[in-house]
Amino acid sequence: MTQRSAILAALAFLMPALVSVFLLRLWPAAVAVNTSLIPPGGGGYSLENFRYIFTDPVFLNSLKVTIVFLLIVNPLQIAISLALALLMNTMVPLIGFWRTVILLPVAIPQSVSAVVWGVALRPDGLVNAVLVALGMEPQRFLTSSDQALASIILIVSWIGVGYWMTFILAGLQDIPKSLYEAVRIDGANRWQQFRFVTLPQLRRPLTFVLVANTVANFLIFAPVQILTAGGPEGSTDLIMNTVYTQAFIISDPESAAASTVVLVGVVLLIVILQFRLMRAEDSNE
């Protein structure tokens, strides 16, 4: 194992992925960075587009909404996915089928999921019909600035938790049975087994889910675009919806590029923070 042969081997293993990532992600991203530095109408490089978006109440609001959304949706989805994974990690009849049912929403086109939920949450829709039948007050859901973001969180969680559950489930399957037997001999109860075996052993898959879930939630926009267009009163205007509107609806590619740069910067910062927090798990290196 000489240093040189290791480098050559690493290069050979990495080459296809690196080429595709450079060509299909980083190069177009560099084009976007370039665009973000040129004001509309040209006139050399400047920070004009960034000045524009950072004085734009719509953009600033979407940053705020996105942060609030993430602070709620991330812990919520990870907790539910973990609970589901623990529940589903068992051998009951048709377990593969039950797991698939929970995973299935991720395979439906998001536009269709959005329409189905939009109908369900209509003020005269099915969810209110059920609430009324149970003797409760009908709610306004997507038509109220107080409830719309919560409704979006419900919808994206329905789509996503089965997906995240699957990664945690794979992690659970990898925990050696002997570890449980060892602590059981020491008289550990179920909670202690979870706390001292399951959780530490899940550190790596959970790091992955934490980071991937954060990124995925930052980039959500299809349900918002279809159901609320960011409203009522900007309460669901997630940042990707703003970027998409700038880029593809009102044809302001310069603002869209600047917003994308800011978005990637913010996500990168958060993800680096998450890696720091979960650092202990990389000690194997």
């Binding site: 480098i7 797991r99 698939t100 998001q110 449980y180 869209a256």
Partner: protein, 278 residues
């Protein structure tokens, strides 16, 4: 494995209940696919049996979706997704292996590049990427549809996390046996990585199966249309036909449903093969 061996009726009941709750919206979609178009929104409120069961059944939606090129679109989606998953697994697992196992300078930086690549919102770079693909003359080709899906930083990240957990001793022993890097990757790491590879496959699958804006831009020709785009076309500007939309969604969700149900089996059996892991 900590799966409980003892069969618990209570737990089984909870599992079935949770699955039902998740399934209700899909059930409504399924039922709507069998309703006459005008009846889809008729029984929303007040609550009645007809809210969840069609009053009159019809097959007109299921038969109606095939008039255009929908069959071709389904084929395209399956083909593109399949190729993406196979090529993507090859590319991402080799990259993850290098990042987790081989010691080389700038390893951390290369890993960071991979991480950054999946932070970039794909839709936001679709237009510059379209320009690049146009230079390579890849409009209306399967290559143009497949390429963006295969180098997936998230899948690389997932597999690297998994490979890091495989004990060093295994590869040191393999070196002593005279195996090269590829031998270690192929004969030591991959056989231990069943569930992780399945998870990576899921990432690659979802990315490509849900792809919408990119296929629309790069391959608008009728022969290369994918299912997600074909469905959107049932909601044309005048008279969106929800019966057709739900019927088409039902048809295209049946395929992943079967594949995923079959694959779930490997999540349970893989355990034996990873028994050596500490």
């Amino acid at each position: 494995m900590n799966s409980d061996k003892r069969f618990s009726y209570a737990r089984f009941a909870v599992i079935v209940l949770v699955a039902i709750v998740f399934f209700v919206p899909l059930w409504w979609m399924t039922v709507s696919a069998f309703r006459p178009t005008d009846a889809i929104f008729r029984y929303l409120s007040p609550l009645s049996p007809w809210s969840f069961f069609p009053r009159t059944w019809t097959l007109e939606n299921i038969t109606g979706i095939w008039y255009g090129n929908f069959g071709r679109a389904i084929f395209n989606s399956i083909f593109i997704t399949l190729v993406t998953v196979v090529l993507g697994l090859a590319i991402c697992s080799t990259a993850a292996f290098a990042l987790a196992v081989i010691e080389f300078p700038f390893r951390k930086s290369v890993f960071m590049v991979m991480v950054i690549s999946f932070l970039i919102p794909f839709d936001a770079i679709a237009v510059p990427l379209y320009g690049i693909m146009r230079m390579m003359n890849l409009q209306n080709t399967y290559t143009g549809l497949i390429l963006p899906g295969i180098g997936n930083g998230l899948a690389v990240f997932l597999l690297r996390q998994f490979f890091l957990g495989i004990p060093k001793e295994l590869r040191e022993a393999a070196f002593v046996d005279g195996m090269g890097w590829f031998g270690i990757y192929w004969r030591v790491y991959l056989p231990l990585s069943g569930p992780a590879m399945l998870s990576a496959a899921l990432i690659l699958f979802v990315f490509q199966w849900q792809a919408y804006l990119w296929p629309l831009l790069i391959a608008p020709a009728p022969d290369y249309k994918v299912a997600a785009v074909a469905i959107a076309q049932f909601s044309a500007e005048y008279n969106p036909n929800f019966g057709l939309i739900f019927a088409a969604s039902l048809v295209i969700s049946v395929i992943p449903m079967i594949v995923l149900t079959v694959l779930q089996r490997y999540y349970s059996t893989s355990v034996a093969s990873t028994g050596g892991k500490e």
